[in-house]
């Protein structure tokens, strides 16, 4: 199943997508989007989620806006989603 969302896959995760730089996805929250990606690209969930929360080393941007709510963040239709490694010293 694909959806109306565009997920930009960081270099480190591209082995999961067969090298694809972007993939489509669906979901109304980041949590649902990750579940959708996991169903087609196994490994997404364990790469991004730890103890039920987005890994502290990661940030998700929806339409280029970082989401402090993490997995709970709402995702509008047609959104672009970026998975960004947190930046030491630069989380500001």
């Amino acid at each position: 199943m694909s959806g109306d969302l565009t997920v930009f896959v960081p270099i480190g995760m591209r082995p999961l997508t067969g090298g694809l730089r972007t993939v489509s996805a669906s979901g109304a929250t980041i949590s649902q989007v990750i579940d959708d990606l996991e169903s087609r690209y196994p490994g997404f969930h364990m790469s991004l989620v730890e103890e039920g929360r987005l890994k502290s080393s990661l940030t998700i941007a929806v339409n280029s806006v970082e989401q402090p709510l993490g997995l709970l963040a709402r995702v509008p239709k047609g959104a672009e989603i970026h998975i960004i490694q947190a930046m030491a010293g630069g989380k500001c």
Binding site: I11, S57, M87, A88, G89, G90, K91, C92
Partner: protein, 762 residues
Amino acid sequence: MTTETKPAFNVVGTRPIRPDGVDKVTGRANYGADISLPGMLYGRILRSPHAHARILSIDTSKAEALDGVRCVITHADLPGASDTILDFGESVSPYKWVLEQTFASEKVLYQGHPVAGLCATDPHIAEDALSLIEVEYEVLPPVLTVHDAMADGAPILHEGMKMVEMVARFVPGDGRSERDSNIASQLELEHGDPAAGFEEADIILEGEFETAAAHQGYIEPQTGTAYWNPDGTLTIWTSSQGPFAIRDTVAHMLGIPMADVKVVPMEIGGGFGGKTKPYMEPAAAIMSKKTGRPVKMYMNREEVLVGTGPTSATYVRCKIGAKNDGTLVAGEATLAYEAGAFPGSPVGAGASCMFSSYDVPNLYVNALDVLTNKPKAHAYRAPGSPQATYAVESLLDQLAERLERDPMELRAQNAAAEGTRRADGTRMPAIGAEETMQAAMDSPHYRSELGIDEDGRLIGRGVSMGFWHNAGGESSAYAMTNADGTVNLSLGSVDIGGQRAGLAMQFAESMGIGYEQVRPQVVDTDQIGFTNVTGGSRVSYASGLAVHEAALDMQQQLAARAARIWECDEEAVSYADGVLKGPDGQSMTFPELCGQLQRTGGQIQGAADVSPNRPGPAFACHIVDVAVDQDTGKVDVLRYSAVQDVGTAVHPSYVEGQVQGGVAQGAGMALTEEYVYSPEGRMTNASLLDYRMPTSLDLPEIETILVEVPNPSHPYGVRGVGEVPIVPPLAAIANAIYDATGIRMNSLPASPTKLLDRLLEE
């Protein structure tokens, strides 16, 4: 100078006197070192003289036996490690590393690494007692540069550390090194198709660039005083940018509830990112618990330099590709930043910032966080951006020369705009990069002739852009009415650069009342909701939104009270410009209603706890003229102009001060400031006589031009301003030196010795 636009606000944009000004200029303000409590003990830290050594034994018996010594502690007195990640606002660190930084367990990893702590009834006794602690070391070879650290066979700082420790790569197993490594982590950013971009380029320029470690240079050394009350609660007095970060870290370390720890923020004598994490507070707390008395700790200047985190020394290899018409088509860079002894350099921020002033459709950045036997690098004003930007802006200078183009026009041709993708693929929001560049090109400085130096020195001009994300995050503000129409405004943000005034101004603007009616104060962690650090250029934006929301909350409650008095529906009452109006022509000013609050239910409090996430990115463009003495290699800055998009200058004087301060610090990184190490890894210039920061005598008046492109996600258009002005000076000055001498300084600082060597070579 400020752009000639009439302020759209009544209070925002004016220049009132800061409420903390009198105390600070008369010496009455209380900083961390001013704390004095009954029965207080004085704590000191024993630090490693070696950059890399195994601890074979620690014998504290002689120190403990000294009359007046009350307590000696080591790593053995710290609680056990866990995998918890601690957040210091401008950086994160695994708890186990925080413990190791507090006191070394098995190895010391840098000169200055704490080994033991003690406290005594007198500071001199404490100092003397340090020499009685006997530590036996097995000295190990140190690694002092990223090149040495990444070389085959390099001594390993952390045995068992593979290539990914702090920030695990996404796919377990992918890309992991099979052997121990001093590369703590790697970050790769990419957008577009870099290979295709370079294929398309008519011109490709490449270079290697290095910068030295530089300290934040705050004048007030770190301090920390702790008192573990008999009831089990802990109070800490400290000069920190992040009282809540200190509270949460210490509570975690000591295994006590956060609610039982109160951190009292003292006035702070500068921080610039360097005071966002605890250094001595945990040790002071443990010793207070052991002795039952308050324990005060403080660093001397040498300890500040060897024992706290400067910014990274860096190596950057950078490549850009352009068309013959000047259009940038590709960029690529490898960054290796020294993290110091523990993971966590600002290389990620450098990677994401370096190309962000421009629209480059194809980018790849490979960022490496590299361990060396030096103090753990810490945040320093726009952490990581100045060093990486220096590389890009130096290459752009070369590109302009190659194409015989004006360097600013070339930059403006490629300026980032709303919608431009950054290296991480995200798009820029509404920004003022183009406006900033245009203002620079229109500036009197840029339009002036360079002239001739009367002393016969070589003179030149350089320019550079700079970018910083700015930040949002959690902030709290509480505002309480008084019967006379004044307001007490409680803030969680520590005041470093005029935050009391700037936030009181925003609150007054939102309430439609006068600035002088608002009395702001920075309160302790028991009196306000969680507030993130004063850092990341976040306070005027995020805490500004907090005071605005608190004002709106207050207005809603005021409307309800007015409705009660006027016996009408609350919804029928409006509030604007400090006046409440009712449905039947009733009117009452804010002070008039405050005078009636006590008989309508009591005074009220407007409160807000916010976590905004749309800070407006900041851009700066700097122009500098320098003179180079051919006989000595000394560089003098003749004229400096800093143009910056500040969104809205809440208090223009403080904004100008922030810009000037950033320029001064960046000029230091460009020209004089560096950590100098012996081959054994000992810092040889650990004093402010030998670690050469610029003084007011070294720099001309720095001209500021404030461009105001409002941030649409803030009611007054506020963007952060404090960090981006440190970004352009490195490249701008290096480019000016090239213009003057024809020598491209690819290694900073361009100290007289280094530049003279190059002049003699030429």
